[in-house]
Amino acid sequence: MFSYLLRRLLFFVPIVAGVMLLTFALFFMVQSPKAMAHRVLGPKATPKAVELWLHNRGYDKPLLINQIPDQPWHDSLFISQMRRLATFDLGRSDVTGRPLSEVFRQGALPSLLLTVPAFLAGLAMSVGLALYLVFIRNAAADLFASLLCVALMSVPVMVYVIFGQYLVAQVFNYFPAFGFQLNGWSTAKFLFLPIALMIVSGLGADVRLFRALFLEELGQDYIRTARAKGVSSAVVLLRHVLKNGLINLITLVVASLPFLIMGSLLLENFFGIPGLGNVLFTAIQMPDFAVVQASVFLGSLLYLGGLLLTDLCYAWADPRIRLH
């Protein structure tokens, strides 16, 4: 087990290095640091202001290798950026100058308050619905529901949000349409609508996927055995199909767990929730390249964490699987 984890982590090293190279190439080689400074400071910024901006961030160093005499060869933009990322230093915001580790830590809680309840409730609902559809499989209602799932998948998130916000907030006028306060239980009333919208926007795809997963399980030999010895179809579904289907489901779902911390780009912006999604949205509008660069790096670490988590959960849920 331990040696498996170690090997897996070693396998991640070249991938993280690849992501680091990719972000450097994208942010510093495809556009010049000078062009970046102009886009942050505005096209009319004086050359002096641009030079100061570049110098403060160390962006005025030679790009790849320092060849200026009397300076060490490793004092270059590439090596300093790589060194920074390798020590998990996320840097500072281009606009406010705040350390990004602090910005991200502050945004994590509101994001988690939105995504964790939405994830849990959404998972429970889609598993339940999928199981029911498998129970009534090939009935008219099942076929209609499958079509409805495709329809739900075909609506972009922002349309859900705009209609939801308009209907619930302006017509019923019960939940606040916008705003956020971290204040004990009263936070919940700000979160109700975004959580509901997040569940609805993900429901179609999830129900469809889980339905296919359970149907596949239904074709297995052990199901036929269970039916042959007289187990009722409800018990087969709840005891055999659900349990064994969940093993496959884990591999699909667990990988997305680390991303709950990133929040939701569109929902947080629409509802003014100061989470990580909103941080990114603001960074896109500004533009704040340091935030986007740090998010890309952080996102890849979360993805790899998700892969590791999936392996561990799979081994835990399915006794046939041993990690060595």
């Binding site: 991938i15 998130v157 705009i162 949205f281 790899l304």
Partner: protein, 359 residues
């Protein structure tokens, strides 16, 4: 080496501005979009013709003929294709170039501002002036007919889907099939490449690329292509690995056929149906992505009619009094209809090629 940065950045900047503007600014020759429509039509005809000759395709075609829902979806998707093509074909006139769709719908006058669907007077509480004509779906802030604008926006969606497919399908298929055929270091390299790109969450990757490259339909299709080939390469690699174990590959090898011939004559036709299914389903994802990216402000530039930008603009319209809902409704519905029909068509194709599949 010391001069690399300056030279490099000048070249890169020129390339970048050329790529990001190539569709939105008209420095391209006027016949190019027309040629693209012509080639697209020919490609589609070739695919159908080729398909009829292969047995697997003929069976799938027969099954599709029995699938009413799939047929309806195909008709709707084709209608969008026709509208998008009409908006792409341009003709030079005395007052600048105009598209075929604009010329066909040129009888609809432009009003001064908002007008509700089928209204006879402009949308104004204090001074409702009479309109030139009734508009079926009303007009937008500049008085342009909402139906016409929505139809014109089809072009952006189709261009994004089409151009991105031109980037990601050849890349994904080539790398996937080569990795599975040659194995060894080629496979390792391809797997490393797509693991690295897949490690960055897709939306972050898209935003980062578009922020650096700049807005535009051209850059958007490049960004979507860079993230999109991964799924295709994985799919094709997996299927090719399975095909490699079939006897026909061993037979072809034993007969001394060249690598190139085995790849193009034997392996490619046997994974072709997966490419088509993925293309149709992927197209719907791309249309949705275009809307979301335009909404985020990194997608279609101002002035390009696109469902994403119409939806973005209509956010403020909802808080007006009286409420202006028709722009949002029209753009959302058109987007929904195209994505839905592509999803249904993709599923129907999958069922037609593999009747045992569950979805």
């Amino acid at each position: 080496m010391t001069t690399l940065p300056q030279d490099w950045f000048i070249k890169i900047d020129a390339l970048r501005s050329a790529v990001s503007d190539w569709l939105t600014r008209s420095f391209l020759p006027i016949w190019l979009p027309n040629l693209a429509v012509l080639l697209g039509t020919l490609l589609l005809a070739l695919l159908v013709w080729q398909g009829n000759r292969s047995e697997r395709w003929a069976t799938a075609w027969r099954r599709l003929r029995g699938d009413r829902l799939g047929q309806a979806a195909a008709v709707v998707a084709s209608l969008f294709l026709v509208v998008g093509s009409l908006e792409t074909v341009v003709f030079p006139t005395e007052t600048g170039s105009r598209t075929l769709l604009q010329m066909l719908l040129s009888g609809i006058p432009q009003e001064k501002g908002y007008a509700a669907p089928m209204a006879t007077h402009a949308l104004s509480v204090s001074d409702p002036k009479p309109l030139f004509t009734r508009h079926i779906l009303g007009t937008d802030a500049l008085g342009r007919d909402t139906l016409v604008q929505t139809l014109r926006a089809t072009r952006s969606a189709l261009w994004i889907g089409g151009l991105t497919s031109l980037v990601y399908i050849p890349l994904g298929v080539l790398l996937g099939i080569l990795a599975a055929y040659y194995r060894g270091w080629v496979d390792d390299l391809v797997q490393y490449l797509y693991s690295t790109i897949a490690a960055v969450p897709e939306i972050l990757m898209l935003v980062a690329i578009l922020m650096v490259l700049g807005k535009g339909l051209g850059t958007m299709s490049i960004a979507l292509g860079i993230t999109g080939w991964v799924g295709m390469a994985r799919l094709i690699r997996g299927e090719t690995l399975r095909q490699m174990e079939r006897p026909y590959v061993a037979a072809a090898k034993a007969m001394g056929q060249s690598h190139w011939k085995i790849l193009t004559r034997h392996l490619l036709p046997n994974v072709m149906h997966l490419i088509v299914i993925k293309f149709v389903l992927g197209f719907s994802g791309l249309v949705l992505a275009e809307a979301v990216l335009s909404y985020l402000g990194v997608g279609a530039p101002v002035g390009t009619p696109s469902w994403g930008t119409i939806i973005d603009a209509s956010r403020s319209e909802l808080s007006r009094e009286p409420v202006v809902w028709w722009n949002l409704a029209a753009a959302s519905f058109a987007l929904f209809l195209l994505v839905l029909s592509l999803n249904i068509l993709g599923d129907a194709l999958r069922r037609a090629f593999d009747p045992k599949s569950n979805t």
